[in-house]
Amino acid sequence: MRSRNSFTGPLVLIAIGVVFLIHSLSPEFRIGDLLSNYWPYLLIGWGALEFVEVCFRFFSNRPLPPNGVSGLGWVAVVVICLTGFSAFQVRQASPWIRWAGFERGMRAFGEEREFSVTPVQQAVGKNPRLIIENFRGDAKIAGTDGEEMTVGGHKVISAFDQGELARANDETPVTVTVRGNTVILRCNQGKAPSRVHLSTNLDISVPKGASVEITGTTGDFDISGLSGSVDLSSENSGIRLQDIDGAVKIDTRRSDLIRCNNVKGTVDLRGHGTDIELTKVAGQVTINGSYTGSLALRELAKAVRVENSRTEFNVQGVPGEIRVDRGSVSMQNVVGPTRLTTRVNDVSLSNFSDGLELSVDKGDVELNPGRIPLGRMIVHARSGNIELAIPQSAGFAMSAITDRGEVSNDFGEALKASSEGRGARLSGTVGSGPEVRLATERGTITVRKASASGTTTVGNDVEGGGKYRPVAEAAR
């Protein structure tokens, strides 16, 4: 067995201790990110230490251990590899299973060829309902004037040999079936032998009034200029929608980007994906799932509800912009009441109306309401600084508490600061106004006066702010 006077074990313990100490002293230090990115160096470091130790023992004529890394040590290595690797992959959200999978092998060893799709032209009426099922490939769908639908494009087929390629092409024609108002487009991809990899890239034009229902496996969608609704569900897709009048419903298991621009109906996103970009949506927006990339929302007229894995919020309208990136949430010019819950993120909110309920696990909060009268604000951070800039003439009833940290106050006598143990408290009333409650378990609270230029009064024209929600209703 290993002799007692090994120094690797203690050093590893010390290193782990140091990492957790830094973590608990400074909250910005993100232990999860660190471990998921740098765990291989842990293995290297451990190996190097053991290496040095064995060499040291050998050259100083001390007894050598039977093996450098013990059985239990290897178990630990396997555990580290599994957790580290999966944590990294989850964070990257990279489709490594697909890389490692069969498709790639087929592409590498087989033959690949492009075949063009026999064009289809068909009268389908003014408002058809287009259904595409089990579709694999990229599709571009555009609305046009008239009552005709045209389909063109090409197929990319990979197979082991030429004969199989040709057979696969023959067995998978693109067909259009019209049944009353319903138009079914089939690519017959299921008929190809299972060993063949086939994707059909289609260029479809439909009458403007069409609605679209697609279930796809892999491939990107680009849909524009329809006055009907769009209902899309896919295993793995990038999706771009432009100028849709109807409701949009998108369900993805994986996606690199979902972009909707100028939608008049509601937008409903579900599932998993990476980036989301919504611009100019007139209907309600609901996002529910796990999207790991960045989220950008601009010019949304109605209520927005987002339930993402780490961040949840709802607001009543976004005349300005909301951005959620890895590590930060920022909202600028939104119509409240706003409710936001987030785990590890810095939060910055400016120019918001009608109340705020904010809860942050770890991250700094910066608030600049920028409008009077103030709404009721309840802010809680487990760890992080809170900075609130209050418009000069606003009235409010302040109660701010930090369990460990300081309070800094611009309002002088009106607010009473007192220290309590390792923390501090600030309370008092300025004019008459709503409750403002700030609390952090660890961090500094700063209450300052906003510069006059940044302040607007509700009812004055705040870039469409009044348009979305009348003042009387907001005061409710």
């Binding site: 990115n37 765990w39 291989p40 160096y41 842990l42 293995l43 290297i44 470091g45 451990w46 190996g47 190097a48 230490l49 053991e50 290496f51 064995v54 060499c55 023992r57 050998f58 050598l64 251990p65 039977p66 093996n67 450098g68 890394v69 040590g73 290897w74 290595v77 590899c81 580290g84 690797f85 990294f88 490594w96 890389w99 490692a100």
Partner: protein, 74 residues
């Protein structure tokens, strides 16, 4: 002493394998050669270590030393 040298080579095998494993994962995460392609290198490393172990000492260190010349004592 040959026996000691063999023990050394054997003891150092674990750490070297650990370093190699860590390096491969680090390369994977840096966006280089992915681990599911580079794993055979680990087998090669193990093979090379075994080879060195063989050449370092004709008799492997884990086994008891060979009986003294003249055959085992009855």
């Amino acid at each position: 002493m040959n026996n000691r040298k063999a023990l050394f080579v054997q003891a150092i095998r674990g750490p070297i394998l650990l370093i190699a494993l860590g390096t491969l994962f680090a390369i994977h995460q840096a966006g280089g050669l992915p681990i599911y392609r580079s794993w055979p290198l680990l087998i090669i490393v193990v093979g090379v270590m075994k080879l060195i172990e063989r050449t370092a000492v004709p008799v492997s260190g884990v086994y008891p030393p060979p009986p003294p010349p003249g055959g085992p004592v009855q």
